[in-house]
């Protein structure tokens, strides 16, 4: 069996008494498009935030290319209040919790559910800023312009990326003045500037009209092939999810309830129940 690019093992996230994600295990293989779906409040974004280092999971392990990136077990106050499963599995492991920037450095880039662009900057600067991660200059060489070659390369890369994403004509406009669909695109372009291998998209089609959603689906395929990406996304639009995903995971009330190809998911009874509710006796 080939090694997975990203693997979650027994990831549990508990806030106070609420178990937002419970014992969630999954994997994303290289070159796949995997979707995570579930009703509102099912814990999808929480799972995302655990992967990207925003939250420290209460329990569980996350591996990237077979290396442990995050590992945690209930500690502190949670030791007593833990309500999830498998508390003993990682008890003897040392807690590892990277900051989001370290996760990005590994090659995992993300976008946000509610677009988070750098508001005061132009389209061009938004992308250029994201190149800072891979820049090798230190503060002295950048102040005294000793690394002007790298700076020039960064600017050329930004130009190229913007042209490829069809955003070049907006380059000097303020990021927030773009139409909504373009802002999404810019956010993805900015994520691409960090040179990721795995792209995490948090509801990329949120707030888009049907036309824009349609474009998005071909756009995701396009960038996946062009930049050799693996895509893991959260999405509500079933047309989009069913159209492009290789595999789908379903969360409901924090627990995984199904996994499989779009066809399997479509006919899965538990999924239908979770989405449509159980029918009462008539």
């Amino acid at each position: 069996m080939t090694q997975s690019l990203l693997e979650l093992r027994n990831v549990t996230m508990q806030f106070g008494g609420v178990v937002a994600v419970n014992d969630f295990s999954m994997h994303v293989d290289e070159g796949e498009i995997v979707a995570l779906i579930g009703p509102n409040g099912a814990g999808k974004t929480t799972a995302f935030n655990c992967i990207t280092g925003v939250y420290e999971p209460t329990n569980g392990e996350i591996l990237y290319r077979g290396h442990t990136v995050v590992v945690s077990h209930p500690h502190g106050k949670m030791k007593k209040n833990y309500a999830g499963h498998n508390a003993e599995l990682y008890m003897d492991r040392k807690i590892i919790h990277p900051t989001p920037d370290e996760v990005t450095k590994l090659g995992i880039a993300r976008t946000f559910q509610n677009i988070r662009l750098f508001k005061s900057m132009t389209v061009y600067d938004n992308v250029l800023t994201a190149m800072h991660l891979r820049a090798r200059q230190n503060v002295f060489s950048s102040v005294f312009r000793l690394s002007y070659k790298e700076e020039r390369r960064m600017r050329e890369d930004t130009d190229r990326l913007l042209k490829e994403q069809d955003l070049y004509k907006y380059k000097d406009e303020k990021a927030t003045s773009l139409p909504y669909g373009k802002q999404r695109r810019l956010e993805i372009a900015r994520a691409l500037a960090t040179e990721p291998e795995l792209l995490l998209l948090d509801e990329p089609a949120a707030g888009m009209n049907p036309q824009e959603t349609k474009e998005l689906s071909s756009f995701i395929r396009e960038i996946k092939d062009k930049y050799n990406l693996t895509v893991f996304m959260i999405e509500h639009h079933m047309d989009l999810v069913m159209g492009i995903s290789d595999r789908i995971y379903v969360l409901d009330f924090g627990s995984p309830i199904a996994e499989g190809t779009p066809e399997e998911i479509q006919s899965n009874e538990r999924v239908i129940k979770a989405y449509l509710g159980e029918s009462d006796e008539i």
């Binding site: 450095k105 946000f112 750098f118 005061s120 900057m121 800072h132 991660l133 820049a135 102040v143 900015r190």
Partner: protein
């Protein structure tokens, strides 16, 4: 496109060179005790510290109020280092203590050391404090500045800081000479060059990759972190650099004043600087400079009459007496905050195109009124 940019840059540099030339000519022709020079010198020093505060508050989005503390550290470091060793041992300054430091350095090393010492303190204080956000950070840094002021007056540190007594006889502005000669350096020009170089460095920083990272943190911390910008490292960097330049401006202030006493670096001073930053526009370097000259000119020169009995030819010693200037000043500030809350420049920079556009718009308005 690129050519136009180059031309603009050349024009900017020409203007700056012209400004320095004018200052040199003024210094060679005018009385050195003229109030104009006081205003220019103090204005330049405050420009530097305001710009350094703007780097933190305006560009990195860290609301810090420790500027006076770092200026104090810079001023003391400079004064202690550049005081000639025979003065230190002769008990003319250190009356009650045996001075602990027995060597002395030149102006350049003194200034650099002032900056580095402030930066070192900033680094140490930043480790715990920069994990705080917004108001809490402001309170913590303000507290730090007050603690520094108290500690520098502490008896036990007397052999270094001379306790609560003042320091003098170090190399002040009148004693600076042109390197390798005995010719005195024109003092205003010296301050302008020192502050100018520092501000230039800050501008270069802001327009570099790191400056963009700072702005990203200001705009959206979560997104900046997700784009791989280490929040703590970059905040610490900005804090240390800002304090470095605050330290240098403190040293320049010490040179300007001939004496240094910890007592004067009160939190009031930080508020003054914050005021300059707000008036100039948070996030605008040129705004900070303009506002600082404006502020100093008003408080040191144009509004002075309000305290002295006569203002604009009106002689009313009953009304215009000590303290009235502060009142008028407060009203001006309230007007600015109420009606020009974005400051003079907003977050834009001064440029020729902007000046031209400003006058064209004015002309247009006038024409419309006529029609």
């Amino acid at each position: 496109m690129d050519k136009a940019k180059k031309r603009k840059l050349a024009l900017t540099w020409t203007c700056i060179a012209a400004l320095y030339l004018v200052i040199l000519i003024l210094e060679l022709t005018m009385r050195p005790t003229s109030i104009l020079f006081t205003v220019l010198k103090k204005g330049a020093i405050y420009s530097l510290v305001a710009v350094s505060m703007n780097l933190l508050n305006g560009f990195t989005g860290l609301f810090s109020l420790g500027q006076a503390g770092f200026m104090l550290i810079g001023a003391y470091t400079y004064a202690i280092l550049t005081m000639p060793s025979e003065v230190k041992t002769s008990q003319s300054v250190y009356k009650y203590y045996q001075c602990f430091i027995t060597f002395d350095t030149g102006v350049f090393i003194g200034l650099l050391a002032a900056g580095l010492m402030a930066a070192l303190f900033a680094f140490l204080i930043g480790l715990p404090v920069l994990r705080l956000k917004s108001d809490y950070l402001a309170i913590a840094t303000l507290g730090f500045a007050e603690i520094v002021r108290a500690v520098f007056q502490w008896d036990v540190l007397g052999p270094v800081t001379n306790g609560a007594n003042l320091l003098r006889s170090y190399i002040d502005l009148t004693r600076v000479t042109i390197p390798f000669t005995d010719i005195p350096f024109p003092p205003t020009l010296f301050v302008f060059i020192a502050a100018g170089v520092c501000i230039l460095l800050i501008v270069l920083l802001i327009n570099s990759s790191y400056g963009r990272a700072f702005k990203a943190i200001r705009d959206d911390e979560t997104a900046a972190e997700a784009m791989g910008i280490n929040l703590f490292r970059h905040k610490e960097l900005s804090f240390v650099i800002s304090s470095f330049f605050a330290g240098i401006s403190g040293a320049l202030l010490a040179m300007f004043q001939y004496t240094v006493q910890a007592q004067q670096f009160k939190s009031m001073m930080t508020y003054e600087i914050l005021l300059i930053v707000v008036i100039g526009g948070i996030g605008s370097i040129s705004g900070s400079c303009i506002a600082s000259f404006l502020y100093i000119t008003l408080s040191e020169w144009w509004l002075r009459g309000l305290d002295m009995g006569t203002f604009l030819g009106i002689n009313a010693p009953g009304l215009f007496r000590s303290g009235f200037r502060k009142l008028v000043f407060s009203i001006i500030i309230m007007i600015i905050v109420l009606f020009f809350s974005r400051g003079i420049m907003g977050d834009k920079e001064l440029s020729f195109t902007r000046i031209k556009a400003f006058f064209q718009r004015k002309g247009k308005n006038r024409k419309e009124v006529k029609a």
